[in-house]
């Protein structure tokens, strides 16, 4: 018997019992659809975390002052004052770094006439906007000249606007006070929303760092240094280069620990991605279990089918079907059920993933590998769970099968 005949025989046999075939398929359909949808949801949330962190600048490098041993006592990093103008000058020579900005932040009350709002003001260089992928909705950014003159100008975030200018007036050109210092608003930042940790990224004022240093905090130290690596690929090289430059600049001996920490965005992305990756694995395992249950459903129905069709098997044997032919027929029926169920499941999985995105606005990504995998699992399920019933059918004695009531 050739392959085409085999498919034909199996197809005809299934067609004689469409509802049963469909119900058997249902287990596989639901299994495959849920595997695909779960993986899509998992992948989608992973991607959205990645995108969100990338929107903060995926090649962003942060330098923080950190504790080193000081007479045997470790001190909290933030209270350290190790980053200065000298470091910025030294870092400007680094070849893997394209942009560089010191950062110094002060908390305080922003006041516009009778309105006030507790917020923070961040002193940075003009490069900072590029490093953090910030952009202006309106107005202009401050320049190197403003840095040199410690100009009292600032960029304003949407949350601060909402609180200080509630009546929809244009804040550009207006002067607000922050800790008694007047700042003229020259630009409005595009809203960025919350970051991955739930912090409001729009509750901010941004000003030249020299202004904050001299007019508000009266300090020569920086709290952080932000830099951009030339590309995401050279981030690691940039980190080691910066580390070396800062060690030289701080005149640390080989035996001494770093008195600063260099962090990359990539580390953060990896940490968060692995958490959501674990979630994906869990969801997929649960969905996979339902696929196995679907397979057991096939096996059950095939066993019932073999018993119910004993006379048919006897007849087929009497007109010349070999045990092998009967076996292949039942195996092919199981495979047809599982593969058809698989195809419907794939379609349903993709549709329901899109529905989830449409109705719940959860991001979903249907990956080709999950489609391929669930399809292969389907075919294997069909063969595996179809094998024993098929073998049972093939071993029937034609004489007894023909007389079976």
């Amino acid at each position: 018997m050739n392959f085409f005949n085999l498919i034909r025989i199996a197809y005809k046999a299934l067609q004689r019992n469409k509802l049963r075939a469909f119900l058997t398929m249902l287990g596989i359909i639901i299994g495959v659809a849920s595997v695909i949808a779960m993986v899509a949801i998992g992948q989608g949330s992973k991607q959205s975390i990645h995108d969100q962190l990338s929107s903060m600048g995926s090649n962003m490098i942060t330098v923080l002052p950190s504790s080193n041993l000081n007479g045997g006592v470790r001190i909290a990093g933030s209270s350290f004052q190790t980053l200065t103008q000298k470091d910025i000058v030294a870092l400007k020579k680094a070849q893997y770094i394209t942009e560089l900005s010191p950062s110094i932040t002060s908390k305080g009350q922003a006041i516009n006439g009778a309105l006030n709002w507790p917020t923070s003001i961040q002193g940075v260089s003009p490069d900072y906007l590029d490093i953090r992928k910030l952009s202006l909705k309106d107005g202009i950014a401050f320049t190197e000249d403003d840095i040199l003159t410690s100009a009292k100008v600032c960029l304003i975030g949407q949350t601060v606007i909402d609180n200080l200018f509630p009546n929809g007036e244009n804040p550009i050109g207006k002067v607000i006070r922050f800790n008694k210092i007047p700042f003229q608003i020259i630009g409005i930042l595009n809203p960025k929303g919350q970051n991955a940790f739930g912090q409001d990224q729009d509750d901010i004022l941004i000003a030249p760092y020299t202004t904050i240093q001299k007019r508000i905090l009266a300090t020569i130290y920086y709290q952080n240094i932000y830099a951009s690596a030339a590309s995401e690929q050279v981030t690691d090289a940039a980190v080691s280069e910066m580390t070396q430059i800062l060690r030289d600049s701080h005149r640390l001996r080989d035996s001494e620990d770093n008195d600063f920490t260099v962090r990359t965005q990539a580390e953060l992305i990896n940490t968060l991605s692995s958490t959501s990756g674990l979630l994906t694995v869990l969801l997929t395992v649960i969905a996979g279990i339902s696929l196995v249950i679907g397979g057991i459903g096939i096996m059950n129905i095939m066993y019932v089918s073999v018993t119910e069709r004993t006379r048919e098997i006897g007849l087929r044997m009497s007109i010349g079907a070999r045990g092998k032919d009967i076996m292949l027929q039942f195996l092919m029926e199981a495979i047809l059920i599982s593969i058809t169920g698989g195809i419907i499941g794939v379609v349903l999985g993709i549709v329901s993933s899109n529905l989830v995105t449409l109705t719940l606005s959860w991001p979903t990504i249907v990956s080709e590998s999950s489609v391929l995998l669930s399809f292969v699992v389907c075919a294997i399920t069909g063969i595996f769970f179809g094998y024993y019933p098929a073998q049972k059918a093939a071993r029937l004695d034609p004489i007894e099968a023909l007389r079976y009531e």
Binding site: M1, N2, N5, R8, I9, K12, Q15, R16, R311, E312, G314, L315, R316, M317, S318, I319, G320, A321, R322, G323, K324, D325, P398, I399, L402
Partner: protein
């Protein structure tokens, strides 16, 4: 000199039932030549069914030889027996054994599906031809539930003819039919036998049916009791014509 289709020599078949040995056939010898219409008769327990299974290559004799169209059945494996059934035997059963919810045409095509030498178009042509031979050319697409008992049995006969077997083996083929329909089936059998020269072995327990054949083998207690040529073979067609025409069924 016509060809020997069946050649059975000292055939014995024994079954092991627990500690007892049941001897169903106790040494049977006969020959059937091409073009014969043989009925095998016997009451239940006579070994009729056992002999039928062996003739149909569904079972093998314990002792003795069975040659079907010159092939020594004893030497064949299970798969080779299946192949032999496919090429040389056409079965007709008492309960028709048609596939439900399947058209007459597809039911008749079934044996050819297990013969890889036959193409799709040839399969269809031969199935149509076989259905024409049993006068069901207008019922190709009907499923068994849309056909009467006699029509279903004719589909089954078409299925037995389609692989052009050397022998048609009928097992109580009229057992489920009323007498008029039985005569119709017997008339068809006689026609196939006389006009197309088909060899027919017909197992039955009704002497009435046996009278339509050319030869009757009577089994009793696992042995041949009588093997007689039927001197005055009745014509089923004439009997049918002689039946009173009633319209109350």
């Amino acid at each position: 000199m016509s060809k020997k289709i069946l050649d059975i020599r000292e055939l014995k078949r024994e079954f092991q039932m627990g500690s007892e040995t049941v001897r169903a056939l106790k040494g049977i010898s006969f020959e059937v030549e091409a073009g014969e219409f043989v009925t095998i008769m016997g009451s239940s327990g006579s070994g009729k069914t056992t002999l039928l299974n062996i003739l149909g290559c569904l079972d093998k004799p314990s002792i003795g030889d069975y040659f079907l169209d010159g092939v020594d059945v004893k030497k064949l494996s299970r798969d080779e027996l299946a192949q032999l059934r496919n090429r040389k035997i056409g079965f007709v059963f008492q309960a028709y054994n048609l596939l439900p919810r399947t058209s007459a045409l597809e039911n008749v095509e079934l044996p050819l599906l297990y013969n890889r030498e036959i193409s799709v178009s040839e399969r269809r042509d031969r199935a149509i031809h076989a259905l024409e031979a049993v006068k069901l050319a207008e019922r190709l697409d009907h499923t068994p539930s849309q056909l009467s008992g006699g029509q279903q049995q004719r589909v089954a006969i078409a299925r037995a003819l389609v692989n052009e077997p050397v022998m048609i083996l009928a097992d109580e083929a009229t057992g489920n039919l009323d007498s008029r329909t039985s005569y119709e089936i017997m008339s068809l059998m006689q026609e196939l036998n006389s006009q197309q020269g088909k060899t027919i072995v017909f197992v039955t327990h009704e002497p009435d049916i046996a009278s339509f054949s050319s030869r009757t083998i009577q089994l009793r207690d696992g042995r041949i009791q009588k093997d007689t040529q039927n001197a005055n073979q009745r014509s089923a067609k004439e009997v049918l014509a002689g039946l009173p025409i009633t319209d109350d069924y």
